[in-house]
Amino acid sequence: MKEALNKFKSLKLVRMMGFNRVVLIGVIILMYILFTILSPILHQGTNFAQVSRLLSALNYGYFIGFLALGVTFVIATGNIDFSIGPVMFCSALISGYCMKQYAFPLWLCLIMCVLIGAVFGTVGGAFVAYLHLPSFITSMALMQVAKGLGSVFTKTQTVSWPQGDAPNTWFRNFVRYKGIPTGLIFLIVVAIICAIVLNHTRAGRYIICLGANKEAVRLSGVDTRRWEMLAFIICGALAGFAAIFYVGAYTTVQPGMGDTFNNEAIAACVMGGTSMAGGLASILGTVIGAFIVALMQEGILAMGFSISYQYALTGLIVLGAVIADTLSRRRSN
């Protein structure tokens, strides 16, 4: 048994992806089978094994995926960002409102989404990197600011992005084009870019190394503050990206919401093997983690449970992953 496991671990593909990631993919498949069997039993008349279910899970996975990719950079530096969900909503609200109220062209609105996200990232990053504020409290404060700003700007109205036969709906093609889940392609492309940035550029190298040992990197003559802030900016910009895919899939955004997505994005990261202590990050793991979160929420709904189960489970997942990470690090010391 153990031998077989070792043999499996030494397969080339397994080695390339990392054993944990392969296990996670196994988890996805298991979850899918489980939901397919359980949902008709628990909730009569549902059939989980439908393409529409899968597509709906994918829709959820896209924006969670972008959020999780962003926060992976921040967690890699040993910090945390609790503001991404509300920041995503805030940028969707403000740019959507501008489009409706002031007739901004669509392309400008999309760019605005990313920019607003990046601005939030810059502010948060500046507080953390240059003023040395704890990132959790800073980002929680910014979360409130993002929520508030969204509702102040829109006068607490729900904002709908164009849909159906309305003009200017081409941004929805990002999510799905003639039945093809284009969102998946975008997510994979962005994930690949993220992986390249993290593993093959100076920024990524510094971000990971300063998460592992900030003082050693500083004493190597690197201005760590700049790179620490950059991680937050990347995170914010990707939250803006997530906003595009959120409205592409669901079109309407409500002010004052979005903080549950933080939790799910963070859960996706830690499940994927990114360590809350910093210095260790896996983009592939994050993407798989995001899809686990998405599938979980689809499954929970299909089985007729309320979304609250998802919230409670997310908490347990983060707790479990962090305890496991803490204990394993303690053992290796």
Binding site: R205, I208, C209, A212, V217, L219, S220, G221
Partner: protein, 504 residues
């Protein structure tokens, strides 16, 4: 002669690779102040840690008040009456003096802590010691000297019989030292046994009754303070061991250009008006005892800590260094004494660590040039003979010596002109030590200049071309290797008395 209260006999203690205590004997009598002296790493602290239950001994006996004892932890020792007054104080700065003294055993009145009773008790204690401290003051508002006196009061309130002072005067002013001595003399008169660890020769002469000297984990001997001279003690401390091939004369040509000039560097208490020059191809040894301010000087020079003043010239040009980034851009490099915290990123590979300081040069367009990076890493792994299965190996899996080589490689890749080696061979086994020495020799031949901080006399005498000695944040002397001996280095490293008197 007063009765012996504490006897340690044949104490032996080994750590992996180090024989820290080699059958050491030590005794304390009632009503005496017994100095414990020795170079850095001679085993004084280890001995005291064995006594107070922080370490467990491998063999030997401790007899205390006529009974053989072993303490499992500091608390047991404390309850038995053996207390250390630490160099770094073990105080809770946010609580008041009385609250600190009685922490863990507060008198109570119902559920309420009886703070009044505590304050009264504390006042009594201070009266007994002849100190004036308001027990209601918050601890962090007191000076270090007063905090220390509170620690003494705490020790006495624990019914201590043996009090160990670990370099108690390191952070005190002259008047404060005088006050401390009054208290210590008073304690002696009351029959306490006192162990006094210090490097300050004048204090030893002033306050102690006997001096025991340790060297390299061994007990050398005990002298009656009155009957001995400073030279006697120093001779015992440095011994007559023949060190392997010490340098007899400087390898650096006298007309070599000055690459680094530091003038009037000031940074906090530990770096006071330090000036020196470093020539091309020279190894400048920084000697001194632990806490002399050598590391602080180099960190301030490197921009790692803020400095209050001082001019730095590199190759004759004045430069501004405010951060390690500036320093690295000017060709400086720093190998910390604490590798794991300041030198390397343990969880990353040799390659990633090697190019950490120079990543910009190994970036092509947007991307890191992996082949180039790996090539240079491999080159230095070969050149420095780093023992590793491959350059992708995580640094945490390497031995201390090889980790040090990775740090050196990082700076060689950067082509640093001036290298600061802070305790380059700490925690490294003998074979690897030799390699590091050879490497340093090679580096200066190639035209690099090295500042080497070392607390090992052997290392200083063997490697340096010139030796700068520091003591208590000040430069106390500079010796050419030809004139340097262990004795005169030790003299400079402990000569604070004359210096302080000279200041007046």
């Amino acid at each position: 002669m007063p009765e012996v209260i504490l006897t340690m006999k044949g104490i032996d203690k080994s750590f992996p690779g180090v024989h820290a205590l080699d059958h050491v004997d030590f005794e304390v009598r009632k009503g005496e102040v017994h100095a414990l002296m020795g170079e850095n790493g001679a085993g004084k602290s280890t001995l005291m840690k064995v006594l107070t239950g922080i370490y467990t001994k491998d063999s030997g006996t401790i007899t205390y008040e006529g009974r053989e004892v072993t303490f499992a932890n500091p608390r047991e020792a404390q309850q038995a009456g053996i207390v250390i007054v630490h160099q770094e104080l073990n105080m809770m700065g946010h609580l008041t003096v009385a609250q600190n003294i009685f922490i863990g055993r507060e008198p109570k009145k119902g559920i309420r802590i009886d703070d009044n009773a505590m304050n009264v008790e504390a006042t009594k204690l201070f009266k007994q010691l002849g100190i004036e401290i308001d027990p209601k003051t918050t601890m962090s508002e007191l000076t270090v000297a007063k905090q220390q006196m509170c620690e003494i009061a705490k020790a006495i309130s624990h019914d201590a019989k043996v009090i160990i002072f670990d370099e108690p005067t390191a952070a005190l002013t002259d008047t404060e030292i005088e006050q401390l001595f009054v208290i210590i003399r008073d304690l002696r008169a009351k029959g306490y046994g006192i162990v006094y660890i210090s490097h300050r020769m004048d204090e030893i002469k002033k306050i102690t009754d006997r001096v025991s000297v340790m060297r390299d984990g061994q007990y050398i001997g005990t002298l009656i303070t009155e009957d001995c001279t400073k030279e006697d003690i120093i001779n015992m401390m440095v011994g007559r061991v023949i060190y392997e091939d010490p340098k007899t004369q400087s390898q650096c040509p006298p007309d070599a250009p000055v690459v680094l000039k530091v003038e009037h560097l000031n940074a906090g208490k530990m770096v006071q008006d330090v000036s020196f020059e470093l020539k091309k191809g020279e190894i400048l040894g920084f000697a001194g005892l632990v806490g002399a301010g050598r590391t602080e000087t180099c960190r301030a020079l490197f921009g790692a800590d803020p400095k209050q003043g001082g001019d730095i010239y590199i190759e004759g040009k004045k430069v501004e260094i405010h951060s390690p980034k500036d320093a690295v851009e000017h060709g400086l490099s720093y190998l910390s004494e604490d590798r794991k915290r300041y030198g390397i990123v343990l969880k990353k590979s040799i390659t990633e660590n090697s190019t950490l300081a120079t990543l910009k040069e190994y970036t092509k367009g947007l991307f890191i040039d992996r082949p180039k990076e790996e090539k240079v890493t491999q080159r230095y792994v070969d050149e420095l003979r780093t023992k590793t299965p491959g350059i992708d190996q995580l640094v945490m899996n390497l031995s201390g010596g090889n980790q040090q080589k990775v740090v050196i490689a990082k700076w060689l890749v950067n082509d640093a002109k001036i290298m600061i080696f802070d305790e380059p061979t700490r925690g490294i086994d003998v074979g690897a030590k030799q390699e590091i020495y050879e490497l340093m020799g090679r580096l200066v031949k190639e035209g690099k200049s090295i500042i080497m901080i070392s607390s090992e006399m052997t290392e200083i005498l063997r490697m340096s071309d010139r030796i700068l000695v520091m003591c208590e944040g000040k430069k106390t002397g500079e010796l050419d290797i030809a004139e340097a001996t262990q004795e005169n280095i030790m003299n400079l490293a402990t000569r604070d008395i004359d210096m302080r008197e000279g200041d007046k």
